[in-house]
Amino acid sequence: MSVNLDNWEAVIGLEIHVQLSTKSKLFSGASTDFGALPNTQACNIDLALPGVLPVLNEEVLKMAIKLGKALNAEINSPTSFARKNYFYPDSPKGYQISQMDKPIVETGYLDIETEEGKKRIGVTRAHLEEDAGKSLHDDFEGQSGIDLNRAGTPLLEIVSEPEINSPQEAVAYLKSIHSIIRYLDISDGNMAEGSMRCDANVSVRKKGEKDLGIRTETKNVNSFRFVEKAIQYEIERQIHEIESGNKITQETRLYDSQTNTTRPMRSKEFANDYRYFPEPDLLPINLDKSFIDEVMATMPEMPSEKKERFISEFGLSAYDAELLAADKDLADFFEDVNAVSKSPKLSANWIMGELSAELNNENLTIRESKVTSNKLGQLILRIEDGTISGKIAKEIFEKLWSSDNEVDEIIQSEGLEQVTDDKEIESMIDEVINSNPEQLEQYRSGKDRLFGFFVGQVMKASQGKANPKQVNDILRKKLEK
Protein backbone atom coordinates (compact mmCIF):
# COMPACT_ATOMS: atom_id res chain seq x y z
CA MET A 1 0.00 0.00 0.00
CA SER A 2 1.77 3.14 -1.11
CA VAL A 3 0.11 6.48 -0.73
CA ASN A 4 1.21 10.05 -1.20
CA LEU A 5 1.03 11.63 2.24
CA ASP A 6 1.94 15.13 1.09
CA ASN A 7 -1.56 16.43 0.39
CA TRP A 8 -2.99 15.01 3.59
CA GLU A 9 -3.11 15.94 7.22
CA ALA A 10 -3.66 13.48 10.05
CA VAL A 11 -5.72 14.45 13.08
CA ILE A 12 -5.02 12.36 16.16
CA GLY A 13 -6.40 12.30 19.67
CA LEU A 14 -5.18 9.91 22.36
CA GLU A 15 -7.06 8.32 25.23
CA ILE A 16 -4.60 7.04 27.79
CA HIS A 17 -5.70 4.76 30.60
CA VAL A 18 -3.36 4.90 33.56
CA GLN A 19 -3.67 2.31 36.31
CA LEU A 20 -3.17 4.13 39.60
CA SER A 21 -0.73 2.50 41.99
CA THR A 22 -2.92 2.45 45.08
CA LYS A 23 -2.68 -0.41 47.57
CA SER A 24 -6.43 -1.02 47.52
CA LYS A 25 -9.14 -0.67 44.91
CA LEU A 26 -11.14 2.38 43.88
CA PHE A 27 -14.24 1.41 45.85
CA SER A 28 -13.17 -1.53 48.01
CA GLY A 29 -10.43 -2.60 50.41
CA ALA A 30 -9.28 -5.48 48.20
CA SER A 31 -5.60 -5.54 47.20
CA THR A 32 -4.49 -4.37 43.75
CA ASP A 33 -1.23 -6.38 43.62
CA PHE A 34 -0.36 -7.66 40.16
CA GLY A 35 -0.06 -11.38 39.48
CA ALA A 36 -2.04 -12.93 42.36
CA LEU A 37 -3.96 -16.19 41.90
CA PRO A 38 -7.31 -15.69 40.13
CA ASN A 39 -10.11 -14.16 42.22
CA THR A 40 -8.08 -14.04 45.43
CA GLN A 41 -8.26 -10.24 45.37
CA ALA A 42 -11.89 -9.82 44.44
CA CYS A 43 -14.16 -9.05 47.38
CA ASN A 44 -17.95 -8.83 47.57
CA ILE A 45 -17.92 -5.19 46.41
CA ASP A 46 -15.81 -6.04 43.36
CA LEU A 47 -18.16 -8.94 42.65
CA ALA A 48 -21.22 -6.67 42.96
CA LEU A 49 -23.02 -8.92 45.42
CA PRO A 50 -26.46 -7.62 46.41
CA GLY A 51 -26.47 -4.91 49.07
CA VAL A 52 -22.85 -3.78 48.81
CA LEU A 53 -21.96 -0.12 48.44
CA PRO A 54 -18.84 1.48 47.00
CA VAL A 55 -16.61 3.48 49.39
CA LEU A 56 -14.23 5.87 47.69
CA ASN A 57 -10.46 5.55 48.16
CA GLU A 58 -9.12 8.97 49.19
CA GLU A 59 -5.72 8.34 47.60
CA VAL A 60 -7.12 8.36 44.05
CA LEU A 61 -8.39 11.90 44.58
CA LYS A 62 -4.91 13.00 45.60
CA MET A 63 -3.34 11.26 42.61
CA ALA A 64 -5.83 12.82 40.19
CA ILE A 65 -5.30 16.29 41.67
CA LYS A 66 -1.53 15.91 41.24
CA LEU A 67 -1.95 14.88 37.63
CA GLY A 68 -4.33 17.78 37.04
CA LYS A 69 -1.77 20.20 38.43
CA ALA A 70 1.01 18.69 36.30
CA LEU A 71 -1.21 19.12 33.21
CA ASN A 72 -1.94 22.76 34.06
CA ALA A 73 -5.63 21.84 34.35
CA GLU A 74 -8.72 22.80 36.34
CA ILE A 75 -9.74 20.63 39.29
CA ASN A 76 -13.53 20.31 39.42
CA SER A 77 -15.24 20.60 42.77
CA PRO A 78 -17.71 19.10 43.24
CA THR A 79 -16.67 16.22 41.04
CA SER A 80 -19.08 13.34 40.61
CA PHE A 81 -19.33 9.78 39.38
CA ALA A 82 -21.65 8.39 36.71
CA ARG A 83 -22.80 4.96 35.63
CA LYS A 84 -21.80 3.75 32.20
CA ASN A 85 -24.14 0.89 31.39
CA TYR A 86 -23.07 -2.12 29.36
CA PHE A 87 -22.99 -5.85 29.82
CA TYR A 88 -19.80 -7.77 29.69
CA PRO A 89 -18.84 -10.84 31.74
CA ASP A 90 -15.71 -9.31 33.24
CA SER A 91 -17.74 -6.37 34.57
CA PRO A 92 -19.99 -7.97 37.21
CA LYS A 93 -22.19 -4.97 38.04
CA GLY A 94 -23.52 -4.62 34.49
CA TYR A 95 -22.14 -1.07 34.54
CA GLN A 96 -18.87 0.70 35.10
CA ILE A 97 -18.57 3.51 37.61
CA SER A 98 -16.92 6.31 35.66
CA GLN A 99 -17.19 10.07 35.37
CA MET A 100 -19.16 12.02 32.78
CA ASP A 101 -20.26 15.60 33.43
CA LYS A 102 -17.91 16.53 36.22
CA PRO A 103 -14.58 14.79 35.65
CA ILE A 104 -12.06 15.54 38.38
CA VAL A 105 -9.59 17.08 35.90
CA GLU A 106 -10.62 19.30 33.01
CA THR A 107 -9.06 21.62 30.41
CA GLY A 108 -5.30 21.40 30.67
CA TYR A 109 -2.37 21.16 28.32
CA LEU A 110 1.02 19.63 27.82
CA ASP A 111 3.97 21.01 25.84
CA ILE A 112 5.86 18.46 23.77
CA GLU A 113 9.13 18.74 21.85
CA THR A 114 8.78 18.18 18.10
CA GLU A 115 11.17 18.57 15.19
CA GLU A 116 9.65 22.01 14.58
CA GLY A 117 10.10 23.00 18.24
CA LYS A 118 7.74 23.17 21.15
CA LYS A 119 4.08 22.29 20.54
CA ARG A 120 1.16 22.61 22.94
CA ILE A 121 -1.36 19.73 23.07
CA GLY A 122 -4.65 20.38 24.83
CA VAL A 123 -5.87 17.90 27.43
CA THR A 124 -9.67 17.78 27.37
CA ARG A 125 -10.15 15.94 30.63
CA ALA A 126 -8.95 13.20 32.94
CA HIS A 127 -11.53 11.16 34.79
CA LEU A 128 -11.55 8.38 37.35
CA GLU A 129 -13.09 5.02 36.60
CA GLU A 130 -12.83 1.39 37.60
CA ASP A 131 -11.03 -1.26 35.58
CA ALA A 132 -12.75 -4.50 34.49
CA GLY A 133 -11.68 -8.07 35.24
CA LYS A 134 -10.14 -10.42 32.72
CA SER A 135 -11.72 -13.10 30.54
CA LEU A 136 -9.72 -16.23 29.74
CA HIS A 137 -11.00 -17.92 26.63
CA ASP A 138 -9.19 -21.22 26.48
CA ASP A 139 -9.49 -24.59 28.09
CA PHE A 140 -12.86 -24.43 29.74
CA GLU A 141 -14.87 -26.73 27.47
CA GLY A 142 -16.48 -24.00 25.45
CA GLN A 143 -16.85 -21.63 28.37
CA SER A 144 -14.85 -18.53 29.34
CA GLY A 145 -13.11 -18.24 32.71
CA ILE A 146 -13.44 -14.96 34.59
CA ASP A 147 -10.76 -13.55 36.91
CA LEU A 148 -11.99 -10.48 38.77
CA ASN A 149 -8.75 -9.54 40.55
CA ARG A 150 -8.39 -6.47 38.35
CA ALA A 151 -12.07 -5.49 38.64
CA GLY A 152 -12.32 -2.23 40.55
CA THR A 153 -8.66 -1.23 40.17
CA PRO A 154 -8.56 2.57 39.83
CA LEU A 155 -7.90 4.04 36.40
CA LEU A 156 -7.37 7.60 35.33
CA GLU A 157 -8.35 8.14 31.71
CA ILE A 158 -6.54 11.08 30.16
CA VAL A 159 -8.18 12.39 26.98
CA SER A 160 -6.29 14.71 24.64
CA GLU A 161 -7.72 17.22 22.21
CA PRO A 162 -7.42 16.11 18.55
CA GLU A 163 -4.38 18.36 18.19
CA ILE A 164 -1.75 15.76 17.41
CA ASN A 165 -0.76 15.61 13.73
CA SER A 166 1.76 12.80 13.34
CA PRO A 167 2.68 9.42 14.81
CA GLN A 168 5.90 11.01 16.12
CA GLU A 169 3.98 13.71 17.97
CA ALA A 170 1.68 11.05 19.42
CA VAL A 171 4.68 9.17 20.83
CA ALA A 172 6.22 12.38 22.19
CA TYR A 173 2.92 13.16 23.95
CA LEU A 174 2.60 9.63 25.29
CA LYS A 175 6.19 9.63 26.56
CA SER A 176 5.63 12.96 28.21
CA ILE A 177 2.52 11.64 30.02
CA HIS A 178 4.53 8.56 31.00
CA SER A 179 7.32 10.70 32.42
CA ILE A 180 4.79 12.77 34.40
CA ILE A 181 2.99 9.80 35.98
CA ARG A 182 6.35 8.30 36.96
CA TYR A 183 7.47 11.60 38.48
CA LEU A 184 4.22 11.89 40.41
CA ASP A 185 4.59 8.23 41.37
CA ILE A 186 0.89 7.63 40.71
CA SER A 187 1.41 4.60 38.41
CA ASP A 188 4.25 2.30 37.44
CA GLY A 189 3.41 3.15 33.79
CA ASN A 190 4.31 -0.35 32.62
CA MET A 191 2.76 -0.61 29.15
CA ALA A 192 3.63 -4.29 28.67
CA GLU A 193 1.73 -5.21 31.85
CA GLY A 194 -1.15 -2.94 30.94
CA SER A 195 -0.70 -0.31 33.66
CA MET A 196 -0.69 2.26 30.88
CA ARG A 197 -2.87 1.64 27.82
CA CYS A 198 -3.37 3.82 24.80
CA ASP A 199 -6.26 4.11 22.34
CA ALA A 200 -5.72 6.31 19.29
CA ASN A 201 -8.47 8.21 17.50
CA VAL A 202 -7.25 8.85 13.98
CA SER A 203 -8.76 10.66 11.01
CA VAL A 204 -7.32 12.25 7.90
CA ARG A 205 -8.28 15.25 5.78
CA LYS A 206 -6.92 17.09 2.78
CA LYS A 207 -4.51 19.82 3.80
CA GLY A 208 -6.30 23.12 4.29
CA GLU A 209 -9.67 21.54 4.96
CA LYS A 210 -11.53 22.69 8.05
CA ASP A 211 -13.89 19.79 8.71
CA LEU A 212 -12.63 16.67 10.42
CA GLY A 213 -12.68 13.39 8.56
CA ILE A 214 -14.40 10.28 9.88
CA ARG A 215 -12.31 8.76 12.65
CA THR A 216 -11.48 5.28 13.77
CA GLU A 217 -10.39 4.24 17.23
CA THR A 218 -7.44 1.86 17.42
CA LYS A 219 -7.10 -0.17 20.60
CA ASN A 220 -4.70 -2.74 21.94
CA VAL A 221 -1.47 -0.83 21.50
CA ASN A 222 0.96 -1.73 24.26
CA SER A 223 4.30 -0.06 23.56
CA PHE A 224 5.57 3.34 22.46
CA ARG A 225 6.89 1.84 19.25
CA PHE A 226 3.58 0.14 18.43
CA VAL A 227 1.67 3.37 19.02
CA GLU A 228 3.80 5.01 16.36
CA LYS A 229 3.43 2.09 13.95
CA ALA A 230 -0.29 1.57 14.50
CA ILE A 231 -1.05 5.24 13.86
CA GLN A 232 1.21 5.32 10.81
CA TYR A 233 -0.58 2.28 9.40
CA GLU A 234 -4.00 3.70 10.12
CA ILE A 235 -3.19 7.05 8.46
CA GLU A 236 -1.93 5.34 5.31
CA ARG A 237 -4.88 2.93 5.26
CA GLN A 238 -7.41 5.74 5.49
CA ILE A 239 -5.75 7.81 2.77
CA HIS A 240 -5.57 4.75 0.57
CA GLU A 241 -9.28 4.02 1.13
CA ILE A 242 -10.33 7.58 0.35
CA GLU A 243 -8.10 7.84 -2.71
CA SER A 244 -9.59 4.58 -3.95
CA GLY A 245 -13.04 6.15 -3.73
CA ASN A 246 -14.13 4.35 -0.55
CA LYS A 247 -15.54 5.80 2.61
CA ILE A 248 -14.05 5.45 6.11
CA THR A 249 -16.34 3.64 8.53
CA GLN A 250 -16.43 4.97 12.06
CA GLU A 251 -15.36 1.89 13.98
CA THR A 252 -13.10 0.43 16.60
CA ARG A 253 -10.04 -1.37 15.29
CA LEU A 254 -7.47 -3.62 16.89
CA TYR A 255 -3.75 -3.32 16.28
CA ASP A 256 -1.89 -6.52 15.49
CA SER A 257 1.82 -6.08 16.20
CA GLN A 258 2.71 -9.33 14.40
CA THR A 259 1.49 -8.10 11.02
CA ASN A 260 1.73 -4.38 11.83
CA THR A 261 -1.84 -3.79 10.65
CA THR A 262 -5.14 -2.79 12.20
CA ARG A 263 -8.39 -4.67 11.66
CA PRO A 264 -11.98 -3.89 12.59
CA MET A 265 -13.40 -5.45 15.73
CA ARG A 266 -16.58 -7.43 15.15
CA SER A 267 -19.26 -4.79 14.74
CA LYS A 268 -22.29 -4.93 16.94
CA GLU A 269 -25.91 -5.38 15.98
CA PHE A 270 -26.84 -2.07 17.57
CA ALA A 271 -24.70 0.93 18.25
CA ASN A 272 -23.49 1.20 21.83
CA ASP A 273 -25.62 3.38 24.03
CA TYR A 274 -24.09 3.61 27.48
CA ARG A 275 -27.03 5.53 28.99
CA TYR A 276 -24.87 7.41 31.47
CA PHE A 277 -26.61 8.70 34.57
CA PRO A 278 -25.38 10.09 37.91
CA GLU A 279 -24.17 7.27 40.16
CA PRO A 280 -26.80 6.98 42.90
CA ASP A 281 -24.49 5.04 45.26
CA LEU A 282 -21.96 7.86 45.49
CA LEU A 283 -22.46 11.47 46.52
CA PRO A 284 -20.75 14.31 44.66
CA ILE A 285 -17.32 15.01 46.15
CA ASN A 286 -16.41 18.42 47.42
CA LEU A 287 -12.69 19.02 47.24
CA ASP A 288 -11.92 21.64 49.88
CA LYS A 289 -9.28 24.19 49.13
CA SER A 290 -7.35 23.00 52.18
CA PHE A 291 -7.38 19.42 50.85
CA ILE A 292 -6.16 20.54 47.44
CA ASP A 293 -3.49 22.75 49.05
CA GLU A 294 -2.30 19.81 51.13
CA VAL A 295 -1.93 17.70 47.98
CA MET A 296 -0.20 20.54 46.12
CA ALA A 297 2.36 20.75 48.93
CA THR A 298 3.44 17.20 48.09
CA MET A 299 3.96 17.90 44.38
CA PRO A 300 7.45 16.86 43.33
CA GLU A 301 9.61 18.80 40.91
CA MET A 302 8.37 18.01 37.40
CA PRO A 303 10.56 16.97 34.41
CA SER A 304 10.60 20.39 32.74
CA GLU A 305 11.44 22.13 36.04
CA LYS A 306 14.17 19.62 36.78
CA LYS A 307 15.67 20.11 33.35
CA GLU A 308 15.85 23.87 33.87
CA ARG A 309 17.43 23.40 37.30
CA PHE A 310 20.04 20.97 35.95
CA ILE A 311 21.03 23.63 33.44
CA SER A 312 21.10 26.57 35.85
CA GLU A 313 22.41 24.83 38.99
CA PHE A 314 24.87 22.37 37.45
CA GLY A 315 25.71 24.00 34.14
CA LEU A 316 24.69 20.93 32.14
CA SER A 317 23.93 21.29 28.43
CA ALA A 318 20.24 21.40 27.46
CA TYR A 319 20.71 18.03 25.78
CA ASP A 320 22.21 16.31 28.84
CA ALA A 321 19.68 17.93 31.17
CA GLU A 322 16.75 16.84 29.00
CA LEU A 323 17.99 13.27 28.78
CA LEU A 324 18.60 12.92 32.50
CA ALA A 325 15.39 14.69 33.58
CA ALA A 326 13.11 12.64 31.32
CA ASP A 327 13.50 9.62 33.60
CA LYS A 328 13.04 10.28 37.30
CA ASP A 329 15.13 7.31 38.40
CA LEU A 330 17.98 8.41 36.16
CA ALA A 331 17.73 11.99 37.40
CA ASP A 332 17.77 10.83 41.03
CA PHE A 333 20.79 8.63 40.34
CA PHE A 334 22.59 11.57 38.75
CA GLU A 335 21.93 13.79 41.76
CA ASP A 336 23.14 11.06 44.12
CA VAL A 337 26.35 10.60 42.12
CA ASN A 338 26.90 14.33 41.97
CA ALA A 339 26.37 14.72 45.72
CA VAL A 340 29.52 12.62 46.20
CA SER A 341 31.58 13.62 43.16
CA LYS A 342 30.77 17.33 43.17
CA SER A 343 31.42 17.23 39.46
CA PRO A 344 28.14 17.52 37.51
CA LYS A 345 29.51 17.41 33.98
CA LEU A 346 31.71 14.37 34.61
CA SER A 347 28.89 12.66 36.52
CA ALA A 348 26.49 13.18 33.62
CA ASN A 349 29.08 11.89 31.15
CA TRP A 350 29.76 8.74 33.16
CA ILE A 351 26.07 7.98 33.66
CA MET A 352 25.18 8.44 30.01
CA GLY A 353 28.41 6.84 28.80
CA GLU A 354 29.98 3.90 30.65
CA LEU A 355 27.07 3.20 32.98
CA SER A 356 24.32 3.32 30.33
CA ALA A 357 26.41 1.07 28.09
CA GLU A 358 26.71 -1.57 30.83
CA LEU A 359 23.02 -1.29 31.72
CA ASN A 360 22.04 -1.73 28.08
CA ASN A 361 24.40 -4.64 27.73
CA GLU A 362 22.75 -6.53 30.53
CA ASN A 363 19.28 -5.11 29.95
CA LEU A 364 19.06 -3.58 33.41
CA THR A 365 17.25 -0.49 34.63
CA ILE A 366 19.10 2.24 36.46
CA ARG A 367 17.61 0.96 39.73
CA GLU A 368 19.28 -2.39 39.09
CA SER A 369 22.70 -0.89 38.41
CA LYS A 370 25.51 -3.03 39.78
CA VAL A 371 27.54 0.08 40.54
CA THR A 372 25.79 2.19 43.17
CA SER A 373 25.49 5.95 42.84
CA ASN A 374 27.79 6.30 45.86
CA LYS A 375 30.55 4.21 44.28
CA LEU A 376 30.31 5.98 40.95
CA GLY A 377 30.49 9.27 42.83
CA GLN A 378 33.63 8.07 44.67
CA LEU A 379 35.21 6.99 41.41
CA ILE A 380 34.60 10.37 39.80
CA LEU A 381 35.85 12.09 42.93
CA ARG A 382 39.16 10.20 42.57
CA ILE A 383 39.47 11.37 38.97
CA GLU A 384 38.74 14.94 40.04
CA ASP A 385 41.24 14.98 42.90
CA GLY A 386 43.92 13.53 40.66
CA THR A 387 44.27 10.16 42.42
CA ILE A 388 43.53 8.23 39.23
CA SER A 389 43.46 8.96 35.53
CA GLY A 390 40.31 8.75 33.43
CA LYS A 391 41.71 5.73 31.67
CA ILE A 392 42.38 3.84 34.90
CA ALA A 393 38.91 4.90 36.11
CA LYS A 394 37.38 2.92 33.26
CA GLU A 395 39.26 -0.18 34.38
CA ILE A 396 38.16 0.34 37.97
CA PHE A 397 34.58 0.82 36.78
CA GLU A 398 34.67 -2.65 35.19
CA LYS A 399 35.89 -4.07 38.51
CA LEU A 400 33.19 -2.25 40.45
CA TRP A 401 30.59 -3.66 38.06
CA SER A 402 31.69 -7.25 38.67
CA SER A 403 32.61 -7.14 42.37
CA ASP A 404 31.52 -5.66 45.69
CA ASN A 405 34.80 -3.87 46.33
CA GLU A 406 35.07 -0.22 47.23
CA VAL A 407 36.75 2.28 44.90
CA ASP A 408 39.62 3.14 47.27
CA GLU A 409 40.20 -0.55 48.07
CA ILE A 410 40.71 -1.33 44.40
CA ILE A 411 42.98 1.66 43.88
CA GLN A 412 45.17 0.73 46.85
CA SER A 413 45.27 -3.03 46.49
CA GLU A 414 46.14 -2.80 42.81
CA GLY A 415 48.38 0.21 43.09
CA LEU A 416 46.43 2.24 40.57
CA GLU A 417 47.09 5.69 42.00
CA GLN A 418 47.98 8.18 39.36
CA VAL A 419 51.63 9.11 39.26
CA THR A 420 51.76 12.89 39.80
CA ASP A 421 55.26 13.21 41.10
CA ASP A 422 57.22 15.33 38.57
CA LYS A 423 60.48 13.53 39.32
CA GLU A 424 59.00 10.10 38.80
CA ILE A 425 57.38 11.15 35.53
CA GLU A 426 60.60 12.78 34.39
CA SER A 427 62.59 9.61 34.92
CA MET A 428 60.02 7.58 32.96
CA ILE A 429 60.23 10.11 30.13
CA ASP A 430 64.02 10.03 30.13
CA GLU A 431 63.95 6.28 29.79
CA VAL A 432 61.54 6.40 26.88
CA ILE A 433 63.57 9.08 25.09
CA ASN A 434 66.82 7.20 25.61
CA SER A 435 65.48 3.95 24.27
CA ASN A 436 64.01 5.59 21.13
CA PRO A 437 66.88 7.64 19.64
CA GLU A 438 65.64 7.24 16.07
CA GLN A 439 62.24 8.69 16.80
CA LEU A 440 63.85 11.48 18.78
CA GLU A 441 65.99 12.37 15.79
CA GLN A 442 63.00 12.37 13.46
CA TYR A 443 60.96 14.46 15.88
CA ARG A 444 63.65 17.05 16.22
CA SER A 445 64.02 17.27 12.47
CA GLY A 446 60.37 18.30 12.19
CA LYS A 447 58.20 15.23 12.47
CA ASP A 448 55.84 16.83 15.02
CA ARG A 449 53.29 14.10 15.01
CA LEU A 450 55.74 11.75 16.72
CA PHE A 451 54.84 13.62 19.93
CA GLY A 452 51.85 11.30 20.27
CA PHE A 453 54.16 8.30 19.96
CA PHE A 454 56.22 9.48 22.93
CA VAL A 455 53.11 10.20 25.04
CA GLY A 456 51.88 6.71 24.27
CA GLN A 457 55.20 5.13 25.25
CA VAL A 458 55.32 7.01 28.55
CA MET A 459 51.75 6.11 29.41
CA LYS A 460 52.53 2.52 28.57
CA ALA A 461 55.62 2.59 30.74
CA SER A 462 53.52 3.93 33.63
CA GLN A 463 50.80 1.34 33.00
CA GLY A 464 48.41 4.19 32.33
CA LYS A 465 48.99 5.74 35.72
CA ALA A 466 50.98 8.82 34.81
CA ASN A 467 49.04 12.05 34.90
CA PRO A 468 48.55 12.81 31.19
CA LYS A 469 48.72 16.56 31.55
CA GLN A 470 52.05 16.40 33.40
CA VAL A 471 53.38 13.90 30.89
CA ASN A 472 52.48 16.31 28.09
CA ASP A 473 54.09 19.30 29.73
CA ILE A 474 57.33 17.64 30.79
CA LEU A 475 57.70 15.68 27.58
CA ARG A 476 57.32 18.80 25.46
CA LYS A 477 60.05 20.56 27.41
CA LYS A 478 62.43 17.59 27.18
CA LEU A 479 61.90 17.02 23.47
CA GLU A 480 62.47 20.68 22.63
CA LYS A 481 65.90 20.62 24.30
Partner: protein, 98 residues
Protein backbone atom coordinates in the same frame (compact mmCIF):
# COMPACT_ATOMS: atom_id res chain seq x y z
CA UNK B 1 -44.35 10.11 22.55
CA UNK B 2 -44.77 6.91 20.65
CA UNK B 3 -42.24 4.13 20.30
CA UNK B 4 -41.57 2.05 17.22
CA UNK B 5 -41.12 -1.72 17.44
CA UNK B 6 -37.51 -1.22 16.46
CA UNK B 7 -36.90 1.20 19.35
CA UNK B 8 -38.56 -1.23 21.74
CA UNK B 9 -36.34 -4.04 20.54
CA UNK B 10 -33.23 -1.90 20.94
CA UNK B 11 -34.15 -0.92 24.50
CA UNK B 12 -34.80 -4.57 25.33
CA UNK B 13 -31.47 -5.57 23.79
CA UNK B 14 -29.54 -2.97 25.79
CA UNK B 15 -31.10 -4.31 28.99
CA UNK B 16 -30.57 -7.90 27.79
CA UNK B 17 -34.27 -8.66 28.17
CA UNK B 18 -35.60 -11.23 25.77
CA UNK B 19 -38.90 -9.78 24.53
CA UNK B 20 -41.08 -11.96 22.34
CA UNK B 21 -42.72 -10.34 19.32
CA UNK B 22 -46.22 -11.07 20.61
CA UNK B 23 -45.62 -9.08 23.80
CA UNK B 24 -44.33 -6.00 21.98
CA UNK B 25 -47.69 -4.27 21.60
CA UNK B 26 -48.61 -4.63 25.28
CA UNK B 27 -45.14 -3.42 26.37
CA UNK B 28 -45.41 -0.49 24.01
CA UNK B 29 -48.59 0.72 25.73
CA UNK B 30 -47.03 0.42 29.19
CA UNK B 31 -43.76 2.12 28.28
CA UNK B 32 -45.57 4.98 26.52
CA UNK B 33 -47.58 5.53 29.71
CA UNK B 34 -44.32 5.86 31.66
CA UNK B 35 -42.85 8.23 29.08
CA UNK B 36 -45.98 10.37 29.41
CA UNK B 37 -45.18 10.87 33.08
CA UNK B 38 -41.72 12.16 32.16
CA UNK B 39 -43.24 14.50 29.60
CA UNK B 40 -45.35 15.91 32.40
CA UNK B 41 -42.23 16.48 34.47
CA UNK B 42 -40.61 18.18 31.49
CA UNK B 43 -43.29 20.86 31.60
CA UNK B 44 -41.92 22.25 34.85
CA UNK B 45 -39.75 25.34 34.30
CA UNK B 46 -36.30 24.48 35.67
CA UNK B 47 -34.34 27.23 33.96
CA UNK B 48 -33.56 28.82 37.33
CA UNK B 49 -32.67 25.58 39.10
CA UNK B 50 -29.22 24.04 39.30
CA UNK B 51 -28.93 20.46 38.15
CA UNK B 52 -28.83 18.09 41.11
CA UNK B 53 -27.06 14.77 40.81
CA UNK B 54 -27.96 13.66 44.31
CA UNK B 55 -30.81 14.52 46.73
CA UNK B 56 -28.57 14.64 49.81
CA UNK B 57 -26.66 17.85 50.37
CA UNK B 58 -23.57 16.05 51.63
CA UNK B 59 -20.09 15.27 50.34
CA UNK B 60 -19.01 11.71 49.73
CA UNK B 61 -17.11 10.21 52.69
CA UNK B 62 -13.81 8.59 51.76
CA UNK B 63 -11.66 5.81 53.16
CA UNK B 64 -7.90 5.52 53.62
CA UNK B 65 -5.99 3.53 51.01
CA UNK B 66 -5.61 0.33 53.00
CA UNK B 67 -6.14 -3.32 52.18
CA UNK B 68 -8.92 -4.47 54.49
CA UNK B 69 -10.32 -7.45 52.56
CA UNK B 70 -9.05 -11.00 52.91
CA UNK B 71 -9.05 -13.67 50.26
CA UNK B 72 -12.49 -15.29 50.42
CA UNK B 73 -12.39 -16.92 47.05
CA UNK B 74 -13.70 -20.35 47.99
CA UNK B 75 -16.66 -18.82 49.86
CA UNK B 76 -17.46 -16.45 46.98
CA UNK B 77 -17.09 -19.02 44.22
CA UNK B 78 -19.78 -21.12 45.93
CA UNK B 79 -22.37 -18.55 44.81
CA UNK B 80 -21.50 -19.10 41.16
CA UNK B 81 -23.46 -21.55 39.02
CA UNK B 82 -20.19 -22.71 37.51
CA UNK B 83 -16.55 -22.38 38.58
CA UNK B 84 -13.26 -24.10 37.90
CA UNK B 85 -9.60 -23.56 38.81
CA UNK B 86 -10.55 -20.51 40.86
CA UNK B 87 -12.34 -18.91 37.92
CA UNK B 88 -15.99 -18.09 37.38
CA UNK B 89 -17.20 -19.84 34.24
CA UNK B 90 -19.55 -18.08 31.84
CA UNK B 91 -20.84 -18.79 28.34
CA UNK B 92 -18.06 -18.10 25.85
CA UNK B 93 -17.97 -14.48 24.78
CA UNK B 94 -15.40 -13.24 22.34
CA UNK B 95 -15.94 -9.62 21.57
CA UNK B 96 -13.68 -6.72 22.38
CA UNK B 97 -15.33 -4.23 24.67
CA UNK B 98 -13.47 -1.41 26.27
Amino acid sequence: MSLSDQELKEIAYLARINVKDESLSALKVELEEILKLFEELNEADTSEVDAMSHPLDLSQPVRKDEVTEKNEREELLKNAPSAKSGLFLVPKVIEGEG
